[in-house]
C-alpha cells in the first residue's frame, strides 16, 4: 500500500512528465487497437468461397452485367445436362444505382436463393410482398441499411425485408425475386447468368465439357470457382494485410511500451540513488518503479482505447481491396493488448533498474 501511495504521489507530483508519458503511450495503444480491429474485421467478414456450380455467361463478356443470354440457353442446358443436372436457374445480374451507391442487383427465382445460391437468412423474413428485397451483409455494412430500410431502385421504392449472408462474389449484393425484376426492367434486361447445379455424384467436368461443346459460341461455360479465382487472390491479399497490420500493431505496442517505461526511469536515476541512500532496498525501489509503470501503462491504455473506440465508431464500415468489412475487437485482442502493455512496461522498468542496481549508489547521486 505504501508503494502504491508513493508511486501515485510521485506521478501526481510529476504530472507534466506523467501526462507526456500517457500521451506517448496512448497513440501506440490506439494504433494497435485500430490495426487489430481492422485485421479482425477483415478476417471475420471475408466471405467464404463459392461452391462447385457451373455458370453460363455471354461469350467474352468482361462484365457479366453487360451481357444478355438467349432464353433458349435454359432449355439447351437442361437438355445437355439431362439427369446429371439438379437445376438450371436464370439470374438477372445488373449493376444499379441505389441512393448514390453502385450495387449488384441479383434476381433469381426465390425458391433457388437458399438451394442454388447458398443464401442464409440472418434477420427479418424472406421477401413476401411485391416490393420486398433482401440485402447481404456487405451492403448492410457499407450502406448502414437494415431490415425495414426503404431504398429506391429504378424509380420504385423497395423495402428491405431480409438481411442475408451470401457466399463468395455475392457477398455485397441486393436480391430480388426474378419475376419482380423482370417486371421492374419491363423485360428489357433478359438475364445475364445461368447457374447449373450438377446432381450429387455426377462428373462435373463432363457436364462442363458437354455444355461447352453445345454452346456454339453463344455462351461461355465456367466453373463458379473459376469466377471465384480472382476473389481468392483478393482474399489472400486481404489476409496478408490483416497479418501485417497485426504484426505492426503488436510490435509498435511492445517496443513503444518497453522503451517508454525504460526511458522514464533512466531519467530518474538520481532519484533512485536518493531512495537507495535513505536505505530503501532495491526491491522496494523496484516496487515503486513497477507501480509507477503499471499506473502509467493503465492510464495510457485507457486513453488509447478511448481514442481507438472513437475512431472505430466514426469509421464503422470500411472497404479494403473490394472487401467491405466492419472493424471488430475480440476480447482476446483486448487481453493481448493489456498483456503487452503490462509486460513491456514492467520489462522496461526492470531493465532500466538493472544498471542502477549494479553500480554504487554514489554514482546515481552524481547524475544530473
Amino acid at each position: 500500500m505504501t508503494l502504491l501511495r508513493i508511486g501515485w504521489r510521485d506521478l501526481v507530483a510529476d504530472r507534466i512528465r506523467s501526462v507526456l508519458h500517457i500521451a506517448a503511450v496512448a497513440p501506440i495503444v490506439a494504433a494497435y487497437l485500430i490495426l487489430i480491429a481492422i485485421s479482425s474485421g477483415l478476417r471475420e467478414h471475408t466471405p467464404p468461397l463459392e461452391t462447385q456450380s457451373i455458370v453460363l455467361v455471354s461469350p467474352n463478356a468482361l462484365d457479366p452485367g453487360s451481357g444478355r443470354l438467349d432464353p433458349a440457353v435454359l432449355e439447351l442446358a437442361a437438355e445437355v445436362g439431362g439427369t446429371d443436372v439438379a437445376s438450371v436457374t436464370p439470374m438477372i445480374f445488373r449493376p444499379i444505382r441505389m441512393d448514390d451507391r453502385i450495387v449488384q442487383l441479383r434476381a433469381s427465382p426465390i425458391e433457388t436463393w437458399q438451394t442454388v445460391h447458398g443464401l442464409t437468412l440472418l434477420d427479418g423474413a424472406w421477401p413476401v410482398l411485391r416490393d420486398d428485397i433482401a440485402i447481404t451483409e456487405g451492403i448492410a455494412i457499407a450502406a448502414g441499411w437494415e431490415v425495414g430500410t426503404r431504398a429506391e431502385i429504378f424509380g420504385t421504392t423497395f423495402t428491405v425485408s431480409a438481411l442475408v449472408r451470401a457466399p463468395g462474389t455475392k457477398f455485397a449484393s441486393v436480391w430480388m425475386p426474378f419475376t419482380r425484376a423482370e417486371e421492374l426492367f419491363e423485360g428489357q434486361s433478359g438475364f445475364q447468368l445461368v447457374t447449373v447445379v450438377p446432381a450429387v455424384g455426377t462428373d462435373v467436368r463432363s457436364i462442363r465439357d458437354r455444355l461447352s461443346a453445345a454452346s456454339r459460341g453463344e455462351f461461355s461455360v465456367y466453373f463458379e470457382s473459376d469466377l471465384a479465382a480472382e476473389q481468392t487472390a483478393r482474399k489472400g491479399a486481404a489476409d496478408s494485410l490483416a497479418a501485417v497490420s497485426t504484426v505492426i500493431g503488436i510490435a509498435a505496442l511492445a517496443f513503444g511500451g518497453f522503451n517508454l517505461a525504460a526511458l522514464t526511469l533512466v531519467e530518474r536515476r538520481r532519484d533512485l540513488g536518493i531512495a537507495r541512500s535513505l536505505g530503501f532496498p532495491r526491491q522496494a525501489v523496484a516496487g515503486v518503479a513497477l507501480v509507477r509503470a503499471a499506473l502509467l501503462a493503465a492510464a495510457g491504455f485507457a486513453v488509447g482505447a478511448g481514442v481507438a473506440m472513437v475512431v472505430l465508431q466514426t469509421a464503422a464500415a470500411s472497404t479494403v481491396r473490394g472487401f467491405v468489412f466492419e472493424p471488430s475487437l475480440p476480447a482476446a485482442s483486448w487481453a493481448l493488448g493489456v498483456g503487452i502493455v503490462a509486460s513491456t512496461a514492467c520489462g522496461g522498468t526492470l531493465l532500466a533498474l538493472r544498471a542502477p542496481s549494479a553500480v554504487s549508489v554514489h554514482l546515481l547521486l552524481d547524475e544530473r
Partner: protein, 227 residues
C-alpha cells in the same frame, strides 16, 4: 545495560581506487580513522583530495578496494548489499552539497521518505516530518516543492531528512557549498545543535574554513591521505 561503545567509526588501511580508461586514480590511500560517538569532525582539504570518497565509504554508498571499515558495529567494508541497505536505514543520515531532494515531491514527503524507509506508517511519517520541519523553522513550507524553496531552506529540509530516523551518524558532504554566508551560519548552527543536544555524531567534509569553529576535531585530507 552497557553503554554504547564510544568508538563509532573505525577505519584502517582504507583504500579506494578509480579506473577511468587507462588512468588509475588512487582516491584514498590506506587511510586510518577513528571517530568517537558525539564528535563533530570536519574533514578539510582541496577538491579531489578524497573527502567525498571517504564519506561515501563511511556511508555505505561505495565499497573500499582494501582495508577495514566498521561503523556502529557494522562491517561496512564487507557487508552484503542487503546489510548495507539496513545499515544506511538505521545508522546513517546524509546531507549533500546539492541537497539531493526529490524534486517531484514536497518538503514534507521528502522528509517522510526517510521514515518510510524505516517502515514507519505513512501517517506517522508525515506527522513526524511535519514536526521536524516546524522545529527547523520550516513549518509553513511542508507542502512546498523543493523548487519553491530557497537554497538554505532546501538544505534544512535535507538535514531534517537526514536526522528524521535518529541516526547514529550524520554525514555532510560540503553542506554549505551551495548556500550563501548567512545560510552557512544557519545550516552549521543546526548541525551543531543536533550534535550537542541529540548527541548525533557528525562528519562533515568541506573546503570552507567557515565550518572550522563548529568542529570538535579537524582533519586535513590531501591526495588521499590524512596529513
Amino acid at each position: 545495560m552497557d553503554a554504547p561503545a564510544p568508538l563509532l567509526v573505525s577505519a584502517a588501511g582504507l583504500t579506494r581506487i578509480f579506473r577511468r580508461g587507462h588512468r588509475v586514480v588512487e582516491a584514498l590511500r590506506e587511510v586510518d580513522l577513528e571517530v568517537e560517538r558525539g564528535e563533530f569532525v570536519v574533514v578539510m582539504g582541496p577538491s579531489g583530495g578524497g573527502k567525498s570518497t571517504l564519506l561515501n565509504l563511511i556511508g555505505g554508498l561505495d565499497r573500499p578496494d582494501s582495508g577495514t571499515l566498521e561503523v556502529a558495529g557494522v562491517d561496512v567494508g564487507r557487508a552484503s548489499q542487503r546489510e548495507l541497505d539496513d545499515y544506511r536505514r538505521r545508522h546513517v543520515g546524509f546531507v549533500f552539497q546539492f541537497f539531493n531532494l526529490i524534486s517531484t515531491v514536497n518538503a514534507g514527503d521528502n522528509v517522510a521518505l526517510a521514515l518510510l524507509a524505516r517502515r514507519t506508517p505513512w501517517r506517522e511519517a508525515r506527522r513526524l516530518a511535519g514536526g521536524l520541519l516546524a522545529e527547523f523553522g520550516l513549518g509553513d513550507r511542508v507542502d512546498h516543492l523543493p523548487a519553491e524553496l530557497s537554497g538554505g531552506e532546501q538544505q534544512r529540509v535535507a538535514i531534517a531528512r537526514a536526522v528524521a530516523g535518529e541516526p547514529d551518524l550524520v554525514l555532510a558532504d560540503e553542506p554549505t557549498g551551495d548556500v550563501d554566508a548567512a545560510t552557512t551560519v544557519t545550516v552549521m548552527a543546526l548541525l551543531s545543535r543536533l550534535n550537542r543536544e541529540r548527541g548525533m555524531t557528525v562528519i562533515a567534509v568541506t573546503h570552507d574554513p567557515a565550518l572550522l569553529p563548529y568542529a570538535s576535531r579537524v582533519l586535513i585530507l590531501r591526495d588521499g591521505s590524512f596529513l
